[in-house]
Amino acid sequence: MTERVLITGAGMVTAAGVGVEANLRTLMGGEGAAFAPARYLHTSLTIPVAEVPLDNNELTARCGLQPSEAHSRTYLLALLAAQEALDSAHISAAQAGKLGLVAATTGAGIEVIEACYDTLDQHLAAIPNFSSSNLTDSLARYFGITHPVTTISTACSSSANALQVAARLIRHGRASRLLVGGMDGLSRFSLNGFNSIEIVSPTGCRPFDASHNGVTLGEGAAFLVLESEQAAQERGAEVWGELSGYANRNEAYHPTSSRPDGAGAAETIRAALAQAGMQPDGVDCINAHGTGTVVNDQSEGNAIVSTLGSGVPVTSTKGFTGHTLAACGAVEAIYSLLSIRHGVIFGNNRVLQPMPEVSLSLPLHTYTASVSTVLSNSFGFGGSNTVLIFTKA
């Protein structure tokens, strides 16, 4: 039960860059992805999105695959990120057999399905995308991963929950080394869905800014390698940090909206701190869920102030990446670890004038600081609030 859960590798693809280094450069530089109408997604909507700047042919080539309808954009993004994570952890193909896989997705390849569900006879290769486990199974097959393997889908907290389940599998001795992450390519389904509930920003998201008016949907994939301390030591792995606390709680309030007072999120923050055996003042900075909707930003702001106070720096990196849905928990886990590794606190690149409703410490520019503990929030539809705590190992 007291087994430590260490992170020994990471890989990612977002609108802010292909690869961890490229993402770090973007966040250090302070310029986020350009929010613009979709170039690669087939849609008549012109609201700005944050796409990974590669088309499917380029992604396929980067993955070293032959073009096939079987490969959703989500899968291609995931494969790139997962391969980078395994490479950075120095896990070879031969060692992959001892890996497990916990992956998260909300779309599960729907961008393929929505293009062909009425003409299936001409698109038989696309059929695997109708299975919920297809993306995870395909990654498992590709890397030779056998057990344990599962997929988590809890909307925008999906990959934070995947990290939590993975940590639990390690602590309970059901796995010693896991590839864990989230993936979602932009789809017409999600873009129209978010648009139908009127929470998409017409101008590009500005999390925590006075003019915040909605989310900007992004896309991406991010994977981390989690190991038990023993497994990491045995192979002399380089350690990025430790996943030292996690909690999920449900607001039981509304299908898509957060409690305005932030009580549900606050309870989750307290539970994660308790699980990590940590006091509120031990948190050096917060990677907020920070979607840019008025409801989220106020609710989350209230939750942070009531549990951790107004002084701790709060950053929403969704101003750099857009909202990557099932991937965002893993994307932001990697950003949290980069904060710790490089001693930096990232700026809120889209804040011009902090929102007046809640008093938060919102750095506008990235700066160097000693960071040993980062708390990362991920909140999803269905009232699913997840908080992860990363510490210097």
Binding site: S196, I197, E198, H254, P255, T256, S257
Partner: protein, 87 residues
């Protein structure tokens, strides 16, 4: 169309749009508040009602304050439809 006829039409459209299967038009008081007490509607229903006005009457309302006023009761919805000349 008289206002009463319009109200009757709106009630039927509301019942269909919100799947209020067990509610008959006569159960809905045109002056009773739509939200909170009464029908027990929520913010998702509000979006559905705004959509109803847009789809059936071509009336688009963006301003949150105006939305709140219009969705006070079935009668306020009818009054807007009349005012916009879409009845």
């Amino acid at each position: 169309m008289t206002q009463d006829e319009l109200i009757e039409q709106l009630k039927n459209q509301i019942i269909a749009a919100l799947s209020l299967e067990d509610i008959k038009p006569e159960d809905i008081d045109p002056d009773a508040p739509l939200f909170g007490e009464g029908l027990g509607l929520d913010s998702i229903d509000a979006i559905e009602l705004i959509l109803l006005l847009e789809k059936n009457y071509g009336i688009k309302i963006e301003d949150p304050r105006q939305r709140k006023e219009v969705l006070t009761s079935v009668r306020t919805m009818a009054e807007l439809v009349e005012k916009e000349g879409k009845a």
